[in-house]
Subunit: 240 residues, 2 copies
Amino acid sequence: MIEQETYKQHISTQFNAELEGVKNSLLEMGGNVERQVNDAVDCLVKMDTGQAEVVIDRDHAVNQMEVSIDEECSRILARRQPAASDLRLVLTVTKITTDLERIGDEAAKIARQCIRISEAAASPSNYVEIKHIGNYVVGMLQKALDAFARLDVELAVEVVKADKTVDKEYRSAMRSLVTFMMEDPRVIGSVLNEMWALKSLERVGDHTSNIAEHVIYLVRGLDVRHVELEELISQVEESH
Amino acid sequence: MIEQETYKQHISTQFNAELEGVKNSLLEMGGNVERQVNDAVDCLVKMDTGQAEVVIDRDHAVNQMEVSIDEECSRILARRQPAASDLRLVLTVTKITTDLERIGDEAAKIARQCIRISEAAASPSNYVEIKHIGNYVVGMLQKALDAFARLDVELAVEVVKADKTVDKEYRSAMRSLVTFMMEDPRVIGSVLNEMWALKSLERVGDHTSNIAEHVIYLVRGLDVRHVELEELISQVEESH
């Protein structure tokens, strides 16, 4: 009887270690992706094509992490058949890997824009909007990953809110770029590249907001993916 | 003993029905999303803002299907603890729902572009590229869903191949739109809207290619998400 108990404990310790392992791998992937976005914005602002090449290169490592974390998740599901919150953790991790991988893709796209801009005419802008929105979404991503690490629903809600700010600033930056183009058609080519980079940052904000929504699902069991912000806040408060 | 067998059979029949159910729900969601893309392209080409409103409205239904299919998948995982190919099916379905939902989002974005263009100046184009690429990606999506329904790996590989064609045509269409803008800066605003719609279609192609890759994983157990096309083809051939 005692032996059986010890065996059960052993299994459960191993299982917990596996869950911790997959959680840590996801946070490591998140840290890498955060650095990718940060460096991509940085290389665009400084027009540093050397750093842009590094960002593009490192995207493969991010992709590999997605594949290996998803593999580990299926292995856990097959072997351990987790239930309740353990099952939610595994499912959440495999949803978040997808968003992180897409954020990595957008970082690589920004790095490619940097190279393209440097090959074209001189830059028409100091990328003030890109720098600003870029820093903002990197901060959001940090918060979303913290919210996952600490199972912090309030922080996750903050991230979802912050995405509304990104969308607003994105639209206003786009409007001023359109005006800029109309005033001086010679800059159309380079302003378009800047627009694509801005669009990528806006996508990073969306994916980061998705990650925050997954954290809310993980902690509270609420699927708030297509819920308006106000409704989301009241659902989260009620579920407390 | 016989009773126990009957009971087991009963459970397994129920389980199979649940798996069939979730598969059919995914195909239904896929059918809806296919119609959304088709109608979005159609309303843009015909500048039909009434139809555009319908597309935007129906996006909620697509979102709801994502949530309910994912919920059903977690329920199956929790209750049935599927293994091997059954587990792969459930995991694949929850990955595909994400891609289908994003395709639905892009369709709604195209519909919103249609309304924006109609509110602005007269259209500068007959949207020949949009029509062409739009029809092409709708066809791809049909094939990807067929590949899922019939577990047809060859068809899935065709879809991944087709996405390369989309990317090529997208780049060439973009180049000609940039030239168009430079030649006549008065059309900048409306050509930009056309560019965003094209960009959405290119994203639809990407997500459809992801769906095809998930089908390959489902049937062969191969994760080919970040594998180059040639390597993917040879991996699929070897796994036969």
